[in-house]
Amino acid sequence: MNQPSRAEKFVLPDGVRKLTFTRDTKVANAGTFVVQKEDHTLGNAVRMQLHRDPEVVFSGYQVPHPSDNRIVIKVRAASAQSLGFLFLSAVRTRDPLALTARPPPSRPQVHTTKNSSPMQAMTEAVDCLRTEITDISQKFVDEVDSFRANQQ
């Protein structure tokens, strides 16, 4: 039959990694994740979660081709010195002075402790989503039970 094999949508071929990360060669603290066998379901959720992270300057995803089962997620995390970060904090605090001021020394959760800030941002985003879904799952089961109990 002239159609791609069914398994192609689900099964990772030998030697192909589910997730890869390529550091951007031109922009500091930025990189690209490629996730195999995933689609908008994961891509959009992760991207929106990354947007909630104040240390993330940019995040976006794409499905490069509808019949290639993979997504590409680009992340740029702020570094303490990056203009991007300062600009971002200026916007967030609505304080024009922050554009010239140095960031305060004690900032928790800045993804620059390691050489892998986009990785850290990504890990945190996925963790948050996982906790959220577990939470929804638990609440849903409880709600269904109490709904049934109320009906009887």
């Binding site: 990360f21 995933e38 379901t41 994961l42 979660q49 992270d53 605090t93 892998s116 929804i136």
Partner: protein, 333 residues
């Protein structure tokens, strides 16, 4: 640090509004569209069910060709409680067929009736007591032989039994002398692969409307105009309160079914009072409607979908860990 307007970690809540054996309505609150949409997508495309996937044709003298009937067989929803214990055929490497396959038989015998006879899902015979077509009544089959068999799946709590008055799914019609004899294999699959594995007929969410009435403007309307305004919306959004002579937003449950048709806004403009009411979609309240095909109970579909989504996140997290470890090793070298 830069003040975060909202914490990264959300804690959404769920309110179940309606639950029957084929439909659930619930609200998902305090979260993002991306999460609501992920849930909707997983419900449609990634909750595993069973469907007939392979058909061996032994005899087919009916008016439909083999592949036409095979396709129709695939689309019959099967009770899929067993799917969670089964393996996807493309994942399983072992030899135990019982883990991936459920066998069915469809053998009508030579049709002896002078009239045209319907071959329905009730004519399918399955030897796994937990798997059967939805609304299965083997007693209603052409041969009527399966009536004595006790079907565990049928007996399982499925809400009020719909009784034999719900006819089986028609597969093909036979004339005198025609015959069908097929062996089918049902397998576990997901809707992403083929729509026959979709557990739902409907899976949608809508945004909750937030309706505010400009009381000052409203007070300038005459009684008739107020009544006309209330009547203008096809979904009951507003109510004219006789006692206070004011227009009020009707019960919020009603307002939830608002289709954003804008009819009342048009009416307001017609009355020469634009801005009489303001209707906005809330961005963090999602009203889900999930209708099952009968393959799984509706609440089960949602629970399974959440599990699939959770698993997705776990796998991604695991892969991130591996990547991070590799990076550390590279740095160490």
């Amino acid at each position: 640090m830069a003040p975060t307007t909202e914490p990264k970690q959300r804690s959404p809540s769920i309110v179940v509004q309606e639950l029957t054996h084929e439909k659930i309505r619930f609200a998902l609150l305090h979260t993002d569209t991306s999460v609501a949409n992920a849930l909707r997508r997983v419900i449609i495309a990634e909750v595993p069910t069973l469907a007939i996937d392979l058909v061996d044709v032994i005899e087919n003298t009916s008016c439909l060709c083999d592949e036409f009937i095979a396709h129709r067989l695939g689309l019959i929803p099967l009770l899929s409680e067993k799917a969670v214990e089964m393996e996807f055929p493309y994942d399983y490497a072992g030899d135990d067929e019982s883990v991936t396959d459920v066998h069915f038989e469809l053998n009508t015998g030579i049709c002896a009736s002078a009239e045209t006879v319907d071959v329905t899902s009730n004519d399918l015979v399955c030897y796994d007591p937990r798997v059967a077509p939805v609304n299965y009544h083997p007693g209603e089959s052409i041969k009527g032989k399966g009536g004595a068999m006790e079907f565990e799946a049928q007996a399982a709590a499925r809400g009020p039994d719909d009784g034999p008055d719900i006819p089986g799914v028609v597969i093909v019609k036979l004339r005198r002398g025609q015959q069908i004899n097929m062996r089918c294999v049902a397998r576990k699959g997901v809707g992403r692969d083929h729509a026959k594995w979709q557990p739902v007929a409907t899976a949608t969410y809508r945004f909750e409307p937030e309706i505010t009435i400009n009381e000052e403007l409203m007070a300038t309307l005459t009684e008739e105009e107020k009544m006309a305004f209330v009547e203008s919306s096809p979904t009951a959004l507003f109510r004219y309160d006789e006692a206070t002579r004011r227009v009020v937003v009707d019960a919020p449950d009603q307002a939830r079914s608002y289709g954003y048709d804008g009819e009342c806004l048009k009416k307001a403009e017609e009355l020469g009072k634009p801005g009489l009411v303001d209707i906005r979609a809330k961005e963090d309240a999602f009203h889900f409607t999930v209708e099952s095909t009968g393959a799984l109970r509706p609440e089960e579909i949602v629970v399974n979908a959440l599990k699939v989504l959770e698993r997705k996140m776990e796998v991604t997290r695991g892969e991130l860990d591996i990547l991070e470890r590799e990076q550390d090793e590279q740095v160490a070298m």
